[in-house]
Structure formats: C-alpha cells, structure tokens
Symmetry: C2
Subunit: 192 residues, 2 copies
C-alpha cells in the first residue's frame, strides 16, 4: 500500500524543485533525494514524471488562488482590489528573489509541446484566471471605476499575458522593475 504522506512529500518537494529549476532540469532521482523517500516509491504514487508535473501544476494553481482572495473583498472598489492583488503577486515573486517566475508561464514555455495534457491544463488555468478577472473588470466598468475602453474579457486576457511577460523579464534580470512597470502601466493606461 502506498503511504499518503510519501505522496504529499513528493508533491510538496516537486513544487519547489520544478518551480525553481524547471521540469526537464529536475530528475525523478533529484525529487526523491530532496523528498527523502526511496526512488522506487515514486512510481507507487505517479504513473510517470509527466503525471507528477500535472499534479504539481494543480497544486500551484490552488495555492495561487489563495492570493486571489482579495479580488472578492467587496469593501474595496474593483480597481483597488486589482491593485492589491498584483501587489501581492509582486511580493510573492520578491520572496523567491525573482528567481522562479510563474509556474504557469514556465510550463507554458517548457512543456506546451512536450506534454499534450499540460497544454490542456494550462489552457484551463489561464481561462479560469482571466474569467475571474474579467468579471471584476466588468463590475468596475459598470460603475465607472475602470475604463470602458475595451471589452472586459479582452482587457483581462491582455493583463494576464502582460503579467506573464513581466514575470519572465523579472526572472531573466532578477529584478522587481518589470513587475512595478507592469502594474504602473496597467493601472494608469489600461484600467483607467
């Protein structure tokens, strides 16, 4: 019988390793060594390294959703919620010294071609993320709190994509500047 805590240990360790080093630069041996579990136990819990990658993506998306709770804070107008949300994302990148990027973005570049199920999973995560944001933008547009210069879903998609690019550049240069530039431009030129 596989032990559930071994599986959890593998997922938690893999989330850190795959986020910081990447999928293809991390071997199953790296993971089991770092998790302190026997290499043979890996395949009791995962059919393949690809299957683990998908599990890690789900876990990452769950954790990222917690940062999105501020988006539901109805005490604040939509624009202020979006600002606080991206400030929290910037702080999360600062915690990693701007060295890890976003796992969705990393997997998009590394695994879209390599693992067909990863492409499907990424498509869904991006769609969920943008739809949540589009709902809030539409709310702000109705009250005049957010610019009506573009349809809400188009604006949300542009903002999510631009965030991914800002995170990528932030990782390339290990710098917060691209993230601050993103937020300033989005707040002053896109959302207003």
């Amino acid at each position: 019988m596989p032990k559930p805590n071994v599986k959890e240990q593998i997922v938690a360790t893999s989330l850190n390793l795959l986020h910081s080093k990447g999928f293809n630069a991390t071997s199953v041996q790296d993971i089991t060594d770092a998790a302190g579990v026997p290499k043979g136990s890996f395949y009791n819990h995962f059919a393949s390294k690809d299957a683990l990658g998908l599990e890690v993506l789900r876990r990452y998306a769950e954790q990222a959703a917690e940062l999105g709770e501020v988006l539901h804070n109805t005490a604040l107008p939509p624009l202020a919620r979006l600002q606080q949300y991206f400030e929290a994302l910037i702080a999360a990148n600062a915690e990693n010294d701007f060295n890890c990027g976003c796992l969705l973005g990393n997997f998009s570049t590394e695994l879209s071609n390599q693992i067909p199920a990863a492409r499907q999973a990424l498509h869904k995560e991006f769609a969920d993320w943008t739809e949540m944001m589009a709902g809030l933008i539409a709310e702000g547009q109705r009250t005049g709190n957010i610019s009506a210069g573009q349809p809400a879903l188009e604006m949300a998609n542009f903002i999510v994509d631009s965030w991914q690019g800002a995170v990528l550049r932030s990782k390339a240069e290990q710098s917060q500047a691209p993230l601050d530039r993103f937020l300033h431009t989005v707040l002053t030129r896109i959302l207003r």
Copy 2:
C-alpha cells in the same frame, strides 16, 4: 583541425532544436544526430552544451534583428513602422504554428537560474531591443504620432515584456489570438 562547416551545421541544427524542444529537453546526442555529425565532434567546437546555448542565443538575436529592419524605414511614421514590425513577428510565429515561442523568452524561463552567462546575455539582448524601440517611440512622441503618456523607454520596456507574455500564451494555447490581442491593445491603448 575542427571543420568550420561542422560547427555551422551544429549551430543551425541546434537553433531549430533548442527553439522547438527547449534546452534541457535536447541532449548533445540529439543535436549531433540531427546535424549528422559524429558526437565526438561536438566538443571540438564547443567547450560545453552551455557554450552552445549562448552561441545559439546570439544567432537567434542576429536573425531577429533582420525582422527589425522595417523599424528603420523612414518613409513610414513611427507608429506604422511598429505595427508592421509586430505583424512580421506574428507572421514568424505563425510559420512555427505558434509552437516555439521566442527563444529569448524560453531561455529566460529555462536558463536564467541555470547558466549565469545566459542571464547576462539575455539582459543585454532585452536592453538592445528596448533601446532600439524606445528611440523610435521617442521620435513618434516628438511629432505627435505616438502618445506622450509615458516616457519612451518605459513604454518600450512594457511593450517588449507584454509581447513576451503574449508569445508565451500563444505557445501555451497554440493560437494566434494572444498575439493579435497584444497588437490591437498596444496600438490603441498604449501607443495612441
């Protein structure tokens, strides 16, 4: 004596492989097999796979610079040049069926932490790219052809970062839509 045509064969083959499959998913054996050269010949020409990666990045940047020639076409106003430039980049992504992304972006996510010299090289390529674009934006701002809503260099950096994000999403979803959305938003909300 290393044969120069073997080196060229390795670089040209590697550019395709590293762009489509990624750096860590491609072995030296994959490269020498695809190039049709003996595996042993690789190390006559490159000190390491990392050194090859840097050479491939230089070659990619040289080829990308050719697409930038339209930016110097003084018969067109700056905004029209920028539009034609990004249309050419979108066409180049379409040629790859939106499957490869931008090598600068791919290496940013995959190699920034792994190869310190890659981070330095990426920093320089991004700086050269944005400075070229900032010069053209500043020219458009002087004549009123481009919005003066932001300093030219900040605008150029935001546009380059957002392009990277759009390409990443385009690769994740194998779709042109993020690239068209990028261009429409940048032309109508950022540059005007």
